[in-house]
Symmetry: C3
Subunit: 417 residues, 3 copies
Amino acid sequence: MLDRVVPTISSLLNARAAGHSLPAGLYIRDDVFEADLDVFFRKHWICIGLECDVSEAGDATVIDIGASSLILLRDDDGVVRVFHNVCRHRGSRILDGGPTIVSKLVCPYHQWTYELTGELAYAPHMGANFDKECRSLKAVNFRSISGLIYVCLSDNPPDDIDELERVMNERLAPYDIRNTKIAYEKDVVEEGNWKLTLENNRECYHCSANHPELCVSFVDLDFGYDPDSLSPEDKAQADEHLALYAERTRRWEEEGHPSAAVEQLIDCVTNFRTQRLIISGAGESQTYDATAASSKLLGTMTRKDLGDTHLWGHNSWKHFMGDHAVVSIVIPLSAGRTLVRTKWLVHKDAVEGVDYDLQKLTDVWIATTDQDSDLVSRSHAGVMDPAYIPGPYSPFSETYLEKFATWYVDRMHAHGY
Amino acid sequence: MLDRVVPTISSLLNARAAGHSLPAGLYIRDDVFEADLDVFFRKHWICIGLECDVSEAGDATVIDIGASSLILLRDDDGVVRVFHNVCRHRGSRILDGGPTIVSKLVCPYHQWTYELTGELAYAPHMGANFDKECRSLKAVNFRSISGLIYVCLSDNPPDDIDELERVMNERLAPYDIRNTKIAYEKDVVEEGNWKLTLENNRECYHCSANHPELCVSFVDLDFGYDPDSLSPEDKAQADEHLALYAERTRRWEEEGHPSAAVEQLIDCVTNFRTQRLIISGAGESQTYDATAASSKLLGTMTRKDLGDTHLWGHNSWKHFMGDHAVVSIVIPLSAGRTLVRTKWLVHKDAVEGVDYDLQKLTDVWIATTDQDSDLVSRSHAGVMDPAYIPGPYSPFSETYLEKFATWYVDRMHAHGY
Amino acid sequence: MLDRVVPTISSLLNARAAGHSLPAGLYIRDDVFEADLDVFFRKHWICIGLECDVSEAGDATVIDIGASSLILLRDDDGVVRVFHNVCRHRGSRILDGGPTIVSKLVCPYHQWTYELTGELAYAPHMGANFDKECRSLKAVNFRSISGLIYVCLSDNPPDDIDELERVMNERLAPYDIRNTKIAYEKDVVEEGNWKLTLENNRECYHCSANHPELCVSFVDLDFGYDPDSLSPEDKAQADEHLALYAERTRRWEEEGHPSAAVEQLIDCVTNFRTQRLIISGAGESQTYDATAASSKLLGTMTRKDLGDTHLWGHNSWKHFMGDHAVVSIVIPLSAGRTLVRTKWLVHKDAVEGVDYDLQKLTDVWIATTDQDSDLVSRSHAGVMDPAYIPGPYSPFSETYLEKFATWYVDRMHAHGY
């Protein structure tokens, strides 16, 4: 008879074989996408931006996550707040996209007017019995972790973000991300599922052949390799690098710079990994020649040779270096389209053309994100093909994909799928 | 457990709270849109155009309503007719979009040829036994009410359109809409649900802040206001306006010009409202300075000071003034896209540049429709947001929205939803 | 009560009335489209290209059929092969669209490297226990019938393609299609269902009014006509043509050129029809004046007066003439969009500008495919209209549509619908 029964999401999850990429349906089906949005982008913590997106009192910006639109603002007292961009009258969008400066939030439709604290201050024609108290803008659960804004769109935010907060507050303190400015920002829409975007970010198996610019400063071997796959010369180089890395990490730790990897990748709700990575060559920064792009270092940093504190979440990756930081945020648009928003941060007082050269600051990661976008679209097209069957992850260089896939399936199960 | 059961349309309708905007699903879901199309655009009367769209024998024009395509034509005897634009052979479209002149209707595919009465005159290669009689073009139920073409695409058109016909034939007689011409026509696609388009049209709460051009001639207070929301000066102005309005209406009625509001908005199948509205300022017409745009008045009109006879339906709004009329027709394209087609009518013998200035004739409503389009898209985006919850209608200035929502829910129930 | 129950595909198939076009749902519904793709484009043989698409060892080209992407290549030994364009690692596309030259197939993502025979030669970082043997590129069932590439994407290809192969190998031998070259190729996207594209191709009832260029050389009467529909003069001409045709066919057969029609159109899995058709006027080729466009004849042809060997399949139509051939391949894109890819073939040694004039070679079928595209879109728009009801096929000139519809319904039933 016919094989036209569409498998349930649960059966797709159960069909996932250990050590292998996910069944196609999990990447391409619209119902899975809706479930993903609900589970991973509403019921988990996601990174949406930075305090420095709204540096001054009255700064506001709009961030769209699927159909949700959020207002991130700094109120008159300098307090950062996040609201839903939905008027409590008939639901109109209050602010348009992009950054702006506000003294009140005035809905353009009927002039309902909210304080920057979210309270409804004014609503004409609603009559004497109208209760303004219960019509404040809906606030969004959020945490600023060293200036990184994480939100949870559900009413029951997972509490194991405490661990992320504890670890990163210590590690990020010297970078003082709250006192950075966004030197550049770029949106790239990848023609692929958000999980393919994540998988692509969690291995550097593809780096050497695809990211020549990044590989000047980034060591692809740090995310795993099969020694038998290397030529004798490459093997000798790898051994040398590992020895150097161990020594460098030991020294950093002795000097009081937390460097060892901290992972919360499986058996957890909130997914993250951080580690101080070595920077190759000149050793300072992820630029075309691995030297710093900004002469004004971040925060209280006095050295350029403290490597790259990387941080992964399930919707972001970040690199904190002595002179600048790069923050990429992943926002799913549909089963087959994903927005990757990248921001380049420098010290808030750094002056373009004086302290830093914008092109030097940005060109490596602009090239890298474009190359990744191509790989993700190629990957998604293949996964759409009826001939696709889940293939094996490398047990050396794709171990973080295995962890991500495991976590993904577990989290879906935890939400009843 | 999981909240993944999609609510039925019925449960969405039942969830609607009195005095509040509709639950989101009724604005945004595709299945609701299909139901809306079926109920409100196939089984109710809708306005699709005007007799003056086809002024002369042999004139024809094509009007698309969703997947339906209609031919509006005037046959050789001057009789207006409406047919489905579907060949009875293999279904090909017979006419392309837009106005044309025809002597027969010839399907370009295989030359099946129909008389302008719809009869199949010629169908080659069909053999001796082929029965042409039963292959006439399918005619569409329609009524011309003072030259306004209403159709019902179902076989059982509601009969309470009689009341609309009776009321409007009396009121529109002096405007002689059959003997107008279309001076200008403009299509605007609003990025929002058709019900948001309608709601936007049924209140003027948003007018003062959004429609500066229209507010020269249009009195937003006429659709309701909360006196306590007004400043003392505005309150005094409003009182003065109301007194003037009452006096003007009384005089108009005495002079034999029906002016009082007639509403058939709830507890009915066919939804309409008409009233002679006062025009502000110069008092003549909805132009930038409220003076007439055309020196040749409509029909048998001899005065410019008879205000604005407005007419609402569930897919149109219209304004009939001494010198011209503006007719807007609403055609849903998808759950989130709605076509608003606006036609500006002048006396059929009025000459552009001599009797009327086209820019003066059109600029107020061109600006207004563009402003409304922006408001509707902003409204739809907000309703799409998971943070949207139905909000309260103003008991003063949004009473017609409450009636529309009530009628909408009732009509859906009447059709089994 | 409500008529909101969506009919099953089976009930649509059963609702089809003999002698009439299909019920609308079979042309326009997404679920029917998915079923069509599965049944007719995965489980039946389809034509995807030609050996001369990859003339030399190392030539490769990518052909997309829905979400499936196929690599057609010629390996180092000159053997033609077809593979799925899906890396066995994580599914990435290996080759981009369009023709290319390859020595190995290297996936750009992680450099998994395949021989042109499909074997996995190299996959770094996969460890000592990794079994390359079972990771060859997935091969696609295919046959080259006189240089025409037919594939079946399922594992159980129907075997009655043998008859197509037997008949066409004999008829096509003198044209030596393997030794042609593609002088020109054009993709046209028709805004209609693939079955409307096929129906349009299977009658010439529409030709006289729509294809003036084609009708110079093509005799629309050859696909059937109602004698009573013709004027006395046209009738006399038709009689003359039929007599000439009978005589010409008799002579061709005597001279050893198979000419009679061979049909396998109903009660079969693989659908085809071939016949040597007469060419009108100058009698040589489907050009604007019916004379040959290429002075270098195909294969071992020595005469230009051997008419047009046409070949139909359910996703292609082809015309083989003395001087050139035209091959059109139908690839469905969605329920309402269909790609028609047309290739013009000349002798492989023919030189443009010397042996043939490219414009003369191509202009008739470029015009014809554009005209057909318009007819198909017009047809699809009409079938989408709720007012569409299946209409009668001409018992004279649309007999092949009746056969196609019958075969379509039968094949759907055979696959459980």
